[in-house]
């Protein structure tokens, strides 16, 4: 399965996050959104080269229209799940708060609905919504493109797509860091479910590092992929989680 791109739209129809991948491992580990996007591929229709910004607008227009059409025909409780063309497949997931998650994959991909939901629950809520440093709204994508979210997303999709095999897989020193982050989450006492989840994951990750390719993991469990710079960032945010306002919301 190949993932081509991923978009998040907020309830104001604004694209607050977008990411494009190429099927080759180069230039995919881009950091800022704009860099990744503009460097990725010339997006163009016919004779004109469209700016990538338009691209997200087109995607939004498409899913928005289709979603409305589906609701009109199938009733308010019907949900638009995906569509297929001869070249790609678009998956759609909408949260009750009208945040829309869109992913473009190749045709062989199975339904990504669960995966998108997992990204919402385990990544977006955890690292963006719960992040006290990110604003409640995300004008221009502020607060979404934090390192923790991006890295976890990257891993998540790697696990599910297995397309982009990174060399850093071989690193072993990560297990310590994993334990470290695990501990922090533990201390902050997020929720019973999360706790249990973390335990399981810590266990499997310690048992065999191969397991991570078969399950869709929640992100913070395994620090294998953190670079030095990232660790500091992750620590920073993890520590921020311990702060007072954060715990209140839990």
């Amino acid at each position: 399965m190949v993932v081509y791109s991923f978009y998040i739209f907020d309830r104001h129809a604004e694209c607050i996050y977008k990411r494009r991948w190429l099927p080759r491992p180069t230039s995919t580990v881009g950091k800022s959104r704009s860099d990744t996007v503009s460097g990725a591929a010339p997006t163009g229709l016919g004779q004109t080269v469209r700016s990538t910004d338009d691209d997200s607008k087109l995607v939004f227009g498409t899913v928005f229209s289709l979603r409305n059409m589906v609701r009109k025909l199938g009733g308010e409780d019907d949900n638009f799940v995906s569509f297929t063309t001869s070249q790609y497949k678009l998956h759609y997931y909408e949260t009750p708060t009208n945040t829309k998650f869109v992913m473009l994959t190749d045709l062989k991909s199975p339904s990504m609905r669960i995966a998108l939901q997992q990204i919402y629950i385990n990544l977006f809520v955890e690292y963006v919504v719960k992040n006290p440093l990110s604003p409640t709204e995300h004008p221009g994508g502020v607060g979404v493109n934090n390192e923790l979210f991006e890295e976890s997303l990257e891993q998540n999709l790697e696990v599910s797509s297995r397309e982009q095999v990174h060399v850093r897989k071989g690193e072993t020193a990560g297990s310590h860091r994993s334990g470290h982050i695990e501990a922090i989450i533990y201390k902050s006492g997020i929720s019973k479910a999360q706790e249990r989840h973390s335990c399981n994951r810590a266990h499997t990750a310690a048992d065999s590092p191969v397991v991570k390719h078969t399950v869709l993991r929640a992100p913070a469990c395994d620090g294998t992929f953190w670079r030095e710079k990232k660790i500091t960032g992750a620590q920073h945010r993890s520590q921020a989680r311990q702060g007072h306002p954060y715990r209140l919301f839990m």
Binding site: Y4, L22, A41, P42, V49, T62, S65, M69, L73, Q87
Partner: protein, 171 residues
């Protein structure tokens, strides 16, 4: 006669300009819309279909050089100017299948630009066969009818009759 229309909700035909020219319900399962709503739906879908085609991901072939001069001459062919489509060899199409919780929509576009939208139960199989047969009936009983004006709403009693009979008799 056994009723085998189970699974086929309705059919919509959209002409090449995006106008609704045929709408028929075979089995309830979707909400009924007013004629005006169907017209809007047809027009909207026509546009969306074109967009879904244009947002096809492009994969750079050699080096990802996003030079502004990059412009492809052909839309369908894997362009020589630096990128290819995910499925080279298959013509780029717009939306073919749409899936929701309650129904599945299959869109078949003829080479002349007419679109057939078939709404079926998500579990209905051999949708492509159904739509091919509908196209055949359309070619026979609509296009060969001297009283049918091209691109205008389809009001052909023989088409209705054969369509209904075939869907009922389908096994």
């Amino acid at each position: 006669m056994p009723d085998n229309t189970r699974g086929v909700f309705s059919l919509i035909i959209i002409n090449k300009a995006g106008g609704l020219i045929y709408q028929r319900e075979f089995q309830s399962g979707l909400r009924n819309l007013s004629t005006n709503d169907y017209l809007v739906l047809a027009g909207t879908f026509h546009g969306v279909h074109a967009i879904t085609r244009s947002i096809t991901p492009k994969i750079p072939i050699s080096q990802p050089a996003p030079s502004p001069a990059t412009s492809s001459t052909g839309i369908t062919a894997p362009a020589a100017s630096g990128y290819s489509y995910p499925n080279p060899g298959v013509p780029v199409s717009g939306l073919d299948y749409l899936e929701t919780d309650k129904f599945r929509m299959t869109c078949f576009q003829t080479l002349t630009g007419t679109k057939f939208l078939l709404f079926t139960d998500p579990l209905t199989g051999s949708v492509d066969t159904i739509i091919q047969k509908i196209y055949e009936l359309y070619a026979d009983y609509v296009m060969k009818n001297p009283f049918y004006q091209i691109e205008m709403p389809v009001r052909c009693e023989a088409f209705d009759r054969h369509l209904g009979a075939w869907l009922r008799g389908r096994t």
